[in-house]
């Protein structure tokens, strides 16, 4: 039972309530009954000061006279005085003899007294005087004592009732806690058993448990989407790799059965090897994307000038474009500073250029431009190819996505996925738009060096799909 969180919460609730009530009760007692006691003590102290002055002025006779006067004028009939000599013989006052319980001067004593045959309670204090005399000053506190007793009894009973209420409250708290947790627990058990469609039921009150349930449900939704993504990627991998693997197998089988010469056999093996190299390349691309999305490359970020990097790429892809009869236009600034991984950015822009050249029609134009925008460098790659329909653009960066126009073009469907992963890793974005002159316009935005150098954990993980 002590290991139960519900029990602990309930116990803490009960203890806090009891402690608060006890503290409040003690304060009430201190401010009422305690105040009465303090008033009596103050009255005795004041009395002593006056009598001490008389003693100093007129010695024993003066003190006797003052005590007598005070007793005669004591309208409240509550004063007690007793002056005795060193042998405790009574000299003045209204107490018959020195009480045996009062042994030392200083502390206050409670004294049982008899007034006209009726028992009463007094609070007294003894003072030593020069010459061995002793003075007892007191007040009748019977009424105050009764009031204090009543108050104390009332407070104690209130505490007993409060303890009972605290116990009942603790049980209610425990029950509510268990009920709220049971809802989450049942859902978690169902999910653990494989039913991912289960969700935590909301009470509709909008309280903390509802907020927790909403967070858990959001988490489950996201896990569901991720699982769908994983399933989709697995299906895509299986689908995209089945064709080249089957093709390689068929070629090898055909060569084994029908090759007549060693040269035929060699040629079949080489073609199968090319197919398998393509498969390996797909896996390498997938691993690279996973590595980028994991954010581990972020530790190697530095300040980078993209201008020479883009110029090198333009030179490289200029030759490729020329072979396809495609013109490559460039418009680059003198300097384009950013903060990131130069190799990854180069890979991302290379993918964009590769796509642009690949999908451009003969005699088309690919334009590579970059501007140092206020928010960071922006790299644009525009082509005059078939473009991507607006409905497909949000899916274009998913793994293995192949648009209708790209069905018959070689490719793995991972190029734009990698570009987006690189953009997210750098805290930037990849936008795919329609090129005003027809075709696709890919806009890769990266942060300024100052912004990129700030820690930004949100961008270290890009969505899986």
């Amino acid at each position: 039972m002590f290991r139960s969180a519900g029990f602990r919460f309930a116990a803490i609730y009960a203890v806090l309530l009891a402690v608060s009530a006890a503290a409040s009760a003690y304060y009430v007692w201190w401010a009422t009954a305690g105040l009465l006691d303090r008033q009596v003590e103050a009255a005795i102290g004041t009395d002593w000061q006056g009598l001490a002055e008389r003693w100093a002025e007129r010695d024993v006779p003066g003190l006797m006279q003052t005590i007598d006067d005070r007793l005669m004028q004591n309208v409240d009939d509550d004063a007690i005085y007793l002056l005795v000599d060193s042998r405790l013989n009574r000299i003045a006052g209204n107490l018959e003899r020195w009480p045996s319980t009062v042994q030392v001067s200083g502390p206050f004593y409670e004294l049982q007294v008899s007034r006209a045959g009726i028992r009463s309670l007094a609070m007294v204090r003894s003072y030593d005087l020069p010459g061995g005399y002793h003075l007892l000053i007191g007040r009748d506190v019977q009424v105050r004592a009764q009031l204090r007793r009543l108050l104390t009894d009332a407070l104690l009973w209130a505490l007993v009732i409060l303890l009972a209420l605290a116990s009942i409250g603790a049980m209610v708290v425990r029950s509510l806690f268990r009920r709220a947790i049971a809802n989450v627990s049942v859902t978690a058990a169902a999910i653990a058993a494989g039913d991912l469609g289960q969700r935590v039921r909301l009470s509709g009150r909008g309280d903390e448990f509802d907020q927790l349930a909403e967070v858990i449900n959001d988490m489950l939704d996201r896990i569901g989407r991720l699982m769908d993504g994983v399933r989709q990627v697995s299906n895509a991998i299986a689908h995209d790799l089945r064709t080249p693997i089957t093709r390689a197998r068929t070629r090898l089988e055909d060569a084994a059965l029908h090759a007549e010469t060693a040269a035929d056999l060699q040629a079949a093996i080489e073609r199968a090897t090319q197919d398998l190299d393509g498969i390996v390349a797909v896996f390498q691309a997938l691993l690279r994307i996973a590595e980028i999305e994991a954010g581990s490359r972020r530790a190697a970020f530095t300040r980078v000038d993209l201008a020479p990097l883009l110029a090198d790429l333009a030179e490289l892809y200029g030759a490729v474009a020329e072979e396809k009869d495609v013109a490559l236009e460039i418009d680059l600034p003198g300097a384009l500073p950013t903060f990131g991984d130069a190799t990854l950015i180069q890979q991302a822009v290379a993918n964009l250029l590769d796509n642009a050249v690949k999908f451009s029609p003969p005699a088309g134009t690919v334009r590579l431009s970059a501007v140092p925008a206020p928010t960071g460098p922006t790299i644009r790659v525009a082509d005059q190819g078939p473009g991507i329909p607006a409905a497909d653009r949000e899916h274009a960066t998913q793994r293995f996505f192949r648009g209708e126009a790209a069905r018959h073009t070689p490719g793995s469907g991972l190029g734009l996925t990698l570009v987006q992963a690189v953009a997210h890793l750098h805290g930037g974005t990849l936008r795919l738009e329609e090129n005003p002159g027809g075709g696709l316009l890919a806009v890769l935005s990266l942060p300024l060096p100052e912004e990129g150098e700030r820690p930004n954990r949100d961008v270290t993980r890009a969505p899986l799909a």
């Binding site: 003690y26 009939d77 003899r97 042994q103 007294v113 006209a116 303890l163």
Partner: protein, 93 residues
């Protein structure tokens, strides 16, 4: 919890020493003290340069009568009030 509170309450109660066998008798509730007060009132009336007020006269008369009829406590209270009034309403309390 109750024990703790009781302990706290007990701490605030004045210190007592050995248990008391019998209550100590207070002598300012006795007929003798009543007579003593009456003597004082009479003495002050005699020594006063002006006659006492009607209230003082009434209080002392009532006090005397009550003490004579055994109502000591009430008689003492009235005589004390008469004394206080004669002394200019200055109480020692």
């Amino acid at each position: 919890m109750l024990a703790a509170l009781a302990c706290c309450l007990a701490l605030a109660v004045p210190v007592g020493v050995p248990a008391q066998d019998a209550p100590e008798r207070v002598t300012s509730d006795t007929p003798e003290f009543c007579l003593h007060l009456l003597d004082q009132v009479s003495s002050m009336v005699r020594e006063a340069s002006t006659p006492p007020s009607a209230e003082v006269t009434n209080l002392s008369a009532e006090g005397q009568k009550m003490c004579a009829h055994g109502q000591t406590k009430g008689g003492i209270m009235r005589l004390r009030r008469a004394l206080v009034l004669m002394r200019g309403g200055v109480s020692n309390r």
